[in-house]
Amino acid sequence: MSQPLFIESGGANICKHGEILCGDSLSVATMDGGKLMVLSDGLGSGVKANILATLTTRIATRLMERGLPLEEVVETLTDTLPECKVRKIAYSTFTLLKVKEDGRVYLAEFDNPPTFFLKRGYISELKYRDRLIGSRKIREAHVHAEAGDWLVTVSDGEIHAGIGGLLNLGWDWEKIAKFLETQVYEDVSAQKVAQILVDQAKQLYEGKPGDDTTVGVLKIRPKRFASFMIGPPVKRDDDTAVVERFLNLPGRKIVSGGTTAGILAKFLDKDVIVDLSTMTNKIPPTGKLEGVDLVTEGVHTVNATLEILEKVEEVDALTGMRDGASLLAREFLFADSINIFLGQAINPAHLNPNLPQEMGFKSRSVQAIAAILKERGKEVFIEIH
């Protein structure tokens, strides 16, 4: 089986100079086994354009999610969009991009600039087929994407950036394509590329955009897995089976809790080495165990990780931090799919009335972390042992 893919998305926009509302709309939805991105540019600018564009992306997203064919999407749009009183048309452009995790890409465009498709860092031509639906000419394409490929869709504000000013004819598609080839690489995020494109356009507009400018980026990359084990299984007989399964899952392996780390160490026949240099007064140090990517202490670390995740959304914000909670948060933010093995055996010593109650509340924090990660669009599975 080929490696599972993940479709990472990013988006950025700037408004036409003097407008508060953007007349473009970009929406990204997660559908089972893939992502759906819709970009729409409403007729004109300001409130009216904004409403048209937002309606377009909303309607298109809803219908596509339900698997309706393009004809119905387009017809519904035509029937639903309010008509412009002045121009007597109900009009907004759209680009629909559906990318499945098996690499299948479906693309439909109506009056938007052609989507940029980058294969292994180079612009690759999309083979479009024209199709007439009602009075609208839609361009459709099917391609197969692999890890390392990118799809970038822009509103025409991007293409026209600098027109009549810094650049005679605007930035134009070909130049953006060349620029993109220098910007997409493995370590850069989809969000970053979207931001770079919009920033570049803003510069070309000399800070006063002549049109709403929106960029949507999809990065196709290998899916990142992580497995996280915290707490020993209630039934000690289950230890080996649980540990074996944990170690056999793909991706990063993370273990929290001294006893749990001990079970793994015994299974692996290796020692846990505590790295005292990572200790802070709030968070106990991390450990090293061959065969496992990260070992941390349990309850304090996990509570602190929860606090971090409540505030931080980007892995980059934690660069340079070495304490266990930051490292654990990084692992969670980096992964797309997280398997949590939550062992509920109670350390009898922790029930002692001389210890603070919070010692027993590990699983509550784990559940809260899982909820945050899910909310951020990650796949999270919890197994309770």
């Binding site: 790295d275 140090p285 304090h300 010692m359």
Partner: protein
């Protein structure tokens, strides 16, 4: 080579293992024993209620304060040099 191993597990952390480790770090330096005494950490040693726990070589001690740690260092390291 002597080894001091301080438990940094959840319970011992609450009972001040962080300060105890910092104390030992300093004490070892001040006594100029960096070459003779190694300071290590370990996760839970299964004596949580008695903590903070530590081993000097293989012998278990409990330190509920820096004073305890100081006494242990004096008696077990300095005097047994």
């Amino acid at each position: 080579m002597r080894v001091i191993t301080v438990c940094v597990g959840s319970a011992c952390h609450l009972k001040g293992s962080h300060e105890i480790i910092n104390y030992f770090k300093e004490a070892i330096q001040q006594a100029g024993l960096e070459k003779e005494v190694e300071l290590k950490g370990t996760f839970c040693m299964d004596h949580c209620t008695d903590g903070a726990n530590l081993l000097v070589d293989d012998v278990l001690f409990h330190a509920s304060s820096i004073d305890d740690a100081r006494r242990i260092f004096e008696e077990e390291i300095i005097q047994k040099k």
